[in-house]
Symmetry: D2
Subunit: 379 residues, 4 copies
């Protein structure tokens, strides 16, 4: 994308984009306009909640289904967040999900069955697309990004054909909500000791299925031992994320994962019971140290959505717990506990992360921040 | 019971109806064929569960939406009952909801927006329609039946025009699920002391909204203080049910009700907090006695679905409770507790009843049994 | 604020109290030392969470039961808050609950059966006691305080005998957790239109019972229609709070309340269904206006724990809801909704407030702030 | 045990034991008297519920803690079952837990910390002790019994020293509640294909912890990833149960198990996610066949508490589920589903069983029935 002089494609960018270009200190005088595709759903709502006071970004466009279009967001949405909908955002008119909305970055929270086409279209029209859907995750030229793990994969953007075509748009994908926390806990171990096998059983919260999602009658006092497509995602996405960038493609990390995914009557927070086999010997204190010292380069950028501390290891015998720890670091932390030997692998431990923040909207915003900081988005 | 020769409309009745007509002792050698309209929903499923071993009735027809029609019930339904779907019922082919299905009685569990027309059509084609929807409840010539309260209202059937036309079909309506338990608790008090005012706050279970009903994300760890149309129903249906049959219409019982209806994260059982003002003075022991001695005439019929004891008063200070008492009398009992003076009315107390059994499918089956026993259904 | 020389009882105040006395602008260079009696329980934990970054107060003493005494707080507590226990607070040694702890204000979160005696003892030793227990609430000379409602009742402090004795200690009581929200919603109506009758049915959250409180097996998928002593409290505390200070005593507000209190499977937030009868006629818009314009004098003090807006009226038909709105204004707001005519009284509406914040720890801290600001606490 | 003539020890056996000894057809004219040690707890209550209409057994003694002794059971218990407490059982006076109670069999539901001594004492006084506690499970001469798996282990009884001493009493232990279902699902696979490794992650219901158990505030909207001592039990009990009786001791089955045990907000039913490695190759259909054809010898005895079908395999992609299937076979069935290849082992699948019935009280009663049928209990 070329923003050198004139470039404000798509052309209908608002006045907010006319800004002083000399400010290189990230203290933008005007904020970067962002749009949300599929803004009335759970993920869209959470994006709005997290973006409403964002220091860099300003919501300038919200899109929705046909029956919402033309309505004000306030009238179109069934707002279910725990903070009030800001008045000025409530007044935004819902647009059609077409690549003519006045912004530079779009967060795509449209449903995965239509996301593939929509996101490609936005990218080909010059938008930076942060995808929260699964459609493009495994595309060879799309980075599957967990900013603290594989920021270097962003180089794949240069290989995307829309990028190459001069239009400048591109797609970056956020992984599955159960994968984000898992990969963060695994990353320091893969780096230090190497990983061979991961056995993971998830207990995923209701919010992961959105609205309407799972009926209350089906989930109250119950467990539903199946989430469509989830186990497949958890078994293949980590290898790509942990993989190595070789010139213009990712060589997946060699790792066998077995995942069993379950829905439990918890509102927020995905809990995962892991057993791992390492390539090299490591003691319990080695592993705790690896987690404690995990400080990827992105941490030095002090991005607005970065947690102060990414991984929290709890020594308490019954921690972490979804209700108590999902909101650590404003939902961007990953909590780990119960590290102990596994009779069948090397070790077992538990992971908790906030599926709506770290695993979805918060993770996506951190991706956008990294893209801006790394110069992939100009304005 | 009268088995007039001509009395086998509609004409496509199955072989099960060719039976020995001499058996007048209610020990039918062949069971009465019944159909369920809207059989794949929650209420339909519960009807099947309760009818599957019914001594009098045999399910011979199940209807469903277009996308289910032609499929076997097993393939069409997402069976969510706690007993297994009987194999022979699983094999029944789903029919269109048209008045040509091979049975005499239909239980209508179609959604209330289409129920009005469908039920009228079935009645006009000679079917006995037991309606679990709200469409016809307040029709002047439709009995709104709680068998233990107003069995005499069945005389209204004779005034229904399809009945008068010679076709023989008719509609009998089951009240709202929160009304059934309430009216049973109020009936003995209305009879003995007279009722002037009822203030009721409900805490209704998730199953009352069916599937998909309330999303789990909306109801887990939450209360939803609104159920569409519910307060209006609770405020007007009891007067009709408690009303007096005057020749060919019901004179509503004079009673002012204020209802506040709430959804709570409970799977089954509607809980109601009541305050009442009586017309005549009554002591606490008078009221308990009235409840204890409540023995309406229907109890002498010993119908298959009648509870041995209709009302259970608990002396425990913290009873009744949905989880503990909803299944009393196989879900057909009504539990009452905490009778004590009310500073603003005369007394307050709590009521619990099973919304899916007493308040829906079980109540409807008891209605059908009463209709058969009282000679309203011939075959 | 008056910093008289002698005013540092009890004598073992820590070095933190030696401060520059010239700073009268409320920008304390050193914070006011506070203690928490019964610090390991739910209420004590929440007090710590809310006080840990408090601009005026600093926790200098924590007391606990015999088995905790001498341990560090971290070792003694089963910390169950959603933020981490601050390290420096974790290191505080648990003291015996005796009036020799180094602080000026004590928040009493001891259990109500022992609170009466303990609180009196602390008051007689010169401490300002903010009581979260029920023991002294109805004492004639103890203010039962909701800061936005009856700040003027603090004058009662002067009548307390320990106060008069020159020791300077006194007790101020926080009302029952279900009363706090109720009284705030009622206050503007009482002021403008007068209140005659209030009928309230509560659905109270699990946290109101603390730990161990209600067993999970008893509350999951259930309602428990009884909370010991609760209905009595809800029926008498509001009259005192809304009452008028006459020289040295409170004349209770004339009002009849009927309360039915229930425990529901919700983690936090007390929900209350109210019907009211007013003394004077008022329209729906009159009432909404009264709520909207409620701006008691305390709001001008801009105390650290004061909500920006005390009452939030929601126009949405199904709001407020515990999960969505309990945290409004950091838990210090009161949410109201569904105002509509009541067939038996004048109006009915729903109230929600956070029982652990507004109804307990947050309310108590606001009381302490008001005491400081109004000059009742010297140091 | 020798009951030929004199022996009715303990001596205070009631008249119910004087019976016609000629009836060998198991149609007892009088029922066998049984006692319950620790009768007021959750497990004790469930035992009563399951025994109240038992065809063979009659409850003649209930014991409890000091504060309950001398009270009628009705007054001592906080009855929390979903059926009403039978009046005649409510009248039984609570005895001290001493080996002088009038019965032959005792079900021990006392807490595990005191169970060891108490159970030994009862055995040494001639009682047949069915232990639901963990104290004696791993004793070399105590059968750890799942009747459908290792009925032959009952021969160990002959080696128990109280047995050998001539007193005739003995102890038989029921395994951990999470083990019962697991072992039943594993048994046919161990028999046919051999088992090498089992990786199991449990999601256990609240009732497993009894009352008070886990506080509701701790478990609502949460997962607690720790249950004291549970993982150790799940990792060692199956080997004993699946082991082979060698003359007078059990040779444990060679099998490595890794267990991670979690508490989830479900009322009843333990759910387990398993991965297994077999000794011999087996296809998915081989395994399903092994489960389907599992018909251990005990099934031919048609004991009163035996399920008609022990194992239910569900082909539905999201079954079994605790709420839907825990009550199959009156809680004595074990539900299995989702059999599929595991990338790290051979296969993975899910198991569900009712922890209070199959895993506790129901399993214990089936044990007692087997003991009677096999001649270990005379009367």
């Amino acid at each position: 994308m070329n923003f050198d002089d004139e470039n404000v494609p798509p052309e209908n960018l608002p006045e907010t984009l006319i800004r002083d270009r000399t400010d290189s200190s990230m203290h933008f005088r005007k904020k970067i306009p962002v749009g949300i595709l599929g803004a009335t759903g759970c993920v869209g709502q959470k994006l709005i909640e997290l973006l409403k006071k964002h220091p860099w970004f300003e919501i300038t466009a919200l899109t929705g289904s046909e029956k919402s279009q033309g309505k004000s967001y306030k009238d179109a949405v069934n707002w279910m967040q725990t903070t009030l909908l800001p008045e000025e955002i409530g007044k935004i008119k819902i647009s059609a999900t077409e690549p003519n909305i006045p912004c530079k970055i779009v967060f795509s929270a449209v449903s995965s069955d239509v996301a593939g086409e929509i996101e490609s279209k936005f990218a080909s029209h010059g938008y930076a697309v942060i995808s929260l859907a699964s459609a493009h995750r495994m595309d060879a030229d799309v980075p599957l990004l967990v900013p603290e793990v594989n920021a270097d994969h962003l180089k794949l953007i240069d290989t995307q054909k829309t990028k190459k075509s001069g239009k400048g748009g591109f797609i970056v994908a956020k992984p599955n909500c159960a994968v984000a926390g898992l990969v963060l806990a695994l990353r320091p171990l893969a780096l230090e000791f190497g990983l061979e096998k991961v056995h993971v059983v998830t207990m995923q919260s209701s919010s992961g299925a959105g609205i309407p999602g799972v009926p209350s009658l089906a989930l109250l006092d119950n467990i539903i031992p199946y989430i469509e497509g989830e186990e497949e995602k958890v078994e293949i996405e980590p290898q790509k994320i942990l993989g190595e960038l070789k010139i213009d493609q990712i060589e997946p990390y060699k790792l066998t994962i077995s995942a069993s995914c379950n829905r439990v009557p918890v509102t927020e927070g995905h809990f995962e019971v892991c057993s791992i086999k390492l390539k090299e010997k490591a003691s319990i204190s080695d592993i705790k140290r690896a987690w404690r010292e995990f400080f990827p380069p992105i941490q030095e950028l002090k991005l607005p959505s970065s947690p102060a501390s990414i991984l929290h290891y709890f020594e308490e015998k019954d921690f972490p717990q979804p209700k108590l720890h999902r909101d650590l670091e404003k939902g961007m932390g990953v909590s780990i506990g119960r590290l102990r030997p596994c009779p069948l692998f090397d070790y077992k431990f538990d992971i908790l992360s906030h599926n709506m923040v770290r695993g979805a909207s918060g993770g996506a915003i951190l991706m956008a921040e990294l893209l801006v900081k790394n110069g992939y988005i100009f304005w």
